[in-house]
């Protein structure tokens, strides 16, 4: 057998292995709608197969971090390890103590999602920062007015919403 043929075999094997491995840990396996229900709050998080994501939290219409209300959260996600995802969400905050709700800045919230082997539940942790209007929330030099985390999620899991 010629050397060129021998060299092409490992390439083919590697390529085949990559294709074979993808279905077990592909983005499509994580896409879906998940809910976390806690005694005082609930959160719904959607992961789309194209890498986009959105999230609705029950406290966004009452009072979240910094005492602000805030919009639905939109963002992106990617796989960072076996059954481990990183997601970044942004949302718009509003100061409702003013006569008319006033835009009070953008929040950037970075999540780590650790899925169970069956991919039907995951544990979430987060670090969030709220930046005032005019500050670039993606600039590492920007100073947030509020920082927060999701420690309240400790011990609780997001669960995939089952079809009826």
């Amino acid at each position: 057998m010629k050397l060129s043929h021998l060299l092409s075999i490992p390439v083919l094997l590697t390529f085949g292995a990559t294709l074979a491995a993808e279905p077990s840990d592909h983005g499509g396996d994580y896409a879906g709608t998940y809910i976390a229900t806690l005694p005082e709050r609930a959160e719904i998080l959607q992961l789309h197969a194209d890498g986009t994501a959105d999230m609705t939290l029950s406290d966004q219409v009452t009072s979240g971090a910094g005492g602000f209300t805030f919009s639905d959260s939109l963002g992106s996600w990617k796989r960072t390890g076996p059954r481990r995802l990183a997601a970044r969400f942004v949302n718009l905050n509003f100061d409702v103590t003013a006569p008319a709700a006033t835009y009070s800045g953008a929040a950037v919230v970075d999540y780590v999602l650790e899925f169970a082997p069956n991919r039907r539940t995951f544990a979430a942790s987060c670090q969030g920062r709220i930046f005032p209007p005019g500050e670039d929330p993606f600039d590492p030099a920007s100073t947030p007015v509020t920082t927060f985390d999701c420690a309240y999620l400790d011990g609780y899991l997001y669960r995939r919403v089952p079809l009826p």
Partner: protein, 157 residues
């Protein structure tokens, strides 16, 4: 000659099997994502362009002007652009439906890749028998126009 043919077929086969998203260019599926948008008029908004053509947006003006999150669709326009439309429900001071507003959007990528976008938007309101899905039925002028720039939100790690 036969060996070259085998190699050529192998190369073509590998290219054909490569995920299409990795070879896509311009404002196609690989530009789907969430963007932090700055509107020249001062508003901040978040836009999600999903690969399947769905379009979702939320704006810092919503509490002030009493309108809902916006939902709609987008499609590729040219090699580096897109056209999109989203609809919003607008409410009066009694929280009753006032009208449906339509936002027509034109965007293009800035620089290489999809991390930066720019474009413009035009807002029209549809009342009475006017149909927000048929812009020709709007008897008024656009209630707002603006230019926008956006940056893609990317997960860390």
């Amino acid at each position: 000659m036969k060996t070259r043919l085998v190699h050529a077929l192998l190369f073509v086969g590998l290219l054909g099997a490569w995920p299409a998203s990795l070879t896509a260019r311009g404002f196609s599926g690989n530009c789907s994502g969430t963007y932090l948008m700055a509107e020249a008029g001062g508003a901040t908004s978040l836009w999600t362009l999903e690969a399947d053509g769905a379009f979702f947006a939320t704006s810092s003006l919503q509490p002030l002007l009493s309108f809902s999150d916006q939902q709609g669709s987008w499609e590729r326009h040219g090699h580096h652009g897109l056209k999109g439309v989203v609809l919003a429900l607008v409410f009066d001071e009694n929280s009753e439906l006032l009208n449906v507003s339509r936002v027509d959007i034109s965007l293009h990528t800035v620089g290489t890749g999809c991390d930066n976008i720019a474009g413009s938007l035009e807002v029209r309101e549809f009342t009475g028998d006017e149909d927000p899905l048929d812009p020709a039925t709007d008897t008024g002028e656009p209630i707002a126009t603006d230019t926008v720039t956006g940056r893609r939100v990317k997960a860390r790690g």
